[in-house]
Symmetry: C2
Subunit: 271 residues, 2 copies
């Protein structure tokens, strides 16, 4: 039993897909979310810059004395996880291991699709983890640099012609490769699930890396006896590095609860 | 005669459209460019964050003792120009005044279109300046948040179906309003000129705010006797805040000269 909070961070809104799942399966936990909205998107930046930003994100969350930190960001998980783990005594969870385990369980043919940011695809992290778990698996990977800007601008609805066209362009070679499982390797992408599912067709399982990570964290805390017990729901706090008014509205839509009063600004460069 | 450099900055690549024009019409000047590629894009961020970033950009350029600083960025020019001018003894040029003067000269009907980032359109700066210069002018303004991500990802070519569709979506109400002049209120947009010109048709003049600003700066230096005289071309240096390998290639394409060896990294948060 450990009532210290769980810290969760992402470059922006995407990590809320993991946050939502954490809040659902771990209602009693205190959850602190940081979205680096002042520097989003991460996925097109260099490994050096991504690591520098992620170090500050972790340092900020550590100021709350968390029992665990969740990198609810595909780009950071694939690019900086090892460095962050080496430098930080608090357990850090990334999205790659849980996602790859789910993909290995899902796939029958061993042909797995992967979409992510430029940094994620460049890292090769998902492919390495999948090969270790399921030797001989074939990964058809594709960088999708426009998807995060679309989602951050609130554009992910089925029927949006721009969204439909961009998704089709990115996924065409993956569909043609005949995968039976597609890893949505960035926590922004579950917002696009209806569009992606419709394009890929019914026979393809979609792996939501944020949700998989949330379940992994829950199991891990349970196994270590670190779950919090409380009467009722644990506190939830949301921090962003930009003061823009869009975040509370978009976040409320993503989470299905009104977070307007719970969003605070932080100067992330001070960490 | 003043051989001190001219500093130029933008959130990313867009300001190179002004830089190219400056280099063409002021070949003897020393030009120093800063692209904040580690924090691009600016246009969806809050005025507070844009101002904070712009202050650091100006502080960095001031370390070269420039005779002038050019804000080759529509978002900063419309959101933070007055604050920056108040705080900085070096003359600072923005893109709004030159663009609006050009638009006022171009338009016959007084119906002017304006496209820009969210921050630019929210500011109302172009509209205010145009009203002052040409009372009764009608401005049809539209925020185009996806254009900067497209350009920063190297996607601006005619025939690109995503680019064509996004441009058509944004410009449709402006074309329907029957404008005879369209201000491209962000220095990224001239890269999209062929696509935009083709959609708007021949009767509509396009105002390139970066190029207009370059001419304004040249005239101003000339009038004040501050032009540099040199044998041959002045030095050009390029700084970016991200170490990504994309910048030199894209910048070389934009500028039509190979800048690969001249691009340096700077930690902008130290300013």
């Amino acid at each position: 039993m450990d009532t210290r909070p769980i810290g969760v961070f992402d470059s922006g809104l995407g990590g809320l897909t993991a946050m939502r799942e954490l809040a659902r399966i771990l209602p009693e936990e205190e959850l602190i979310y940081f979205g680096d909205t002042g520097r989003v998107p991460y996925g097109g930046r260099s490994p050096e810059t991504i690591t520098r930003y992620a170090r500050q994100d972790v340092a900020f969350l550590r100021s709350f004395d968390p029992k665990a930190i969740v990198i609810a960001c595909g780009t950071v998980s694939t690019t900086a996880l090892e460095v962050l783990r080496r430098e930080c005594p608090v357990p850090i969870y990334g999205v790659v291991e849980p996602a790859v385990q789910a993909a290995a369980q899902c796939t029958r043919t061993g042909r797995v699709g992967l979409i992510g940011t430029k940094a994620t695809i460049r890292s090769g992290a998902y492919e390495r983890a999948l090969s270790a778990l399921r030797p001989g698996a074939q990964v058809e990977a594709r960088a999708c640099p426009l998807l995060v800007p679309l989602v951050e601008n609130g554009r992910y609805q089925p029927g949006d012609p721009v969204v439909e066209r961009v998704v089709a362009e990115y996924l065409q070679p993956i569909r043609e490769a005949g995968v039976d499982t597609l890893v949505l390797g960035c926590t922004h992408y579950p917002l696009l699930k209806p569009v992606i599912a419709s394009y890929m067709g019914e026979g393809v399982a979609l792996v939501d890396v944020g949700a998989q990570c949330a379940h992994w964290v829950a199991r891990s805390l349970e196994e270590q006896g670190l779950r919090a017990r409380r009467d009722g729901e644990g506190p939830r706090r949301y921090f962003v590095s930009d003061a823009t008014g869009d975040f509370p509205a978009l976040a409320s839509a993503f989470l299905g609860v009104d977070v307007a009063g719970a969003v605070e600004w932080v100067d992330i460069t001070a960490y």
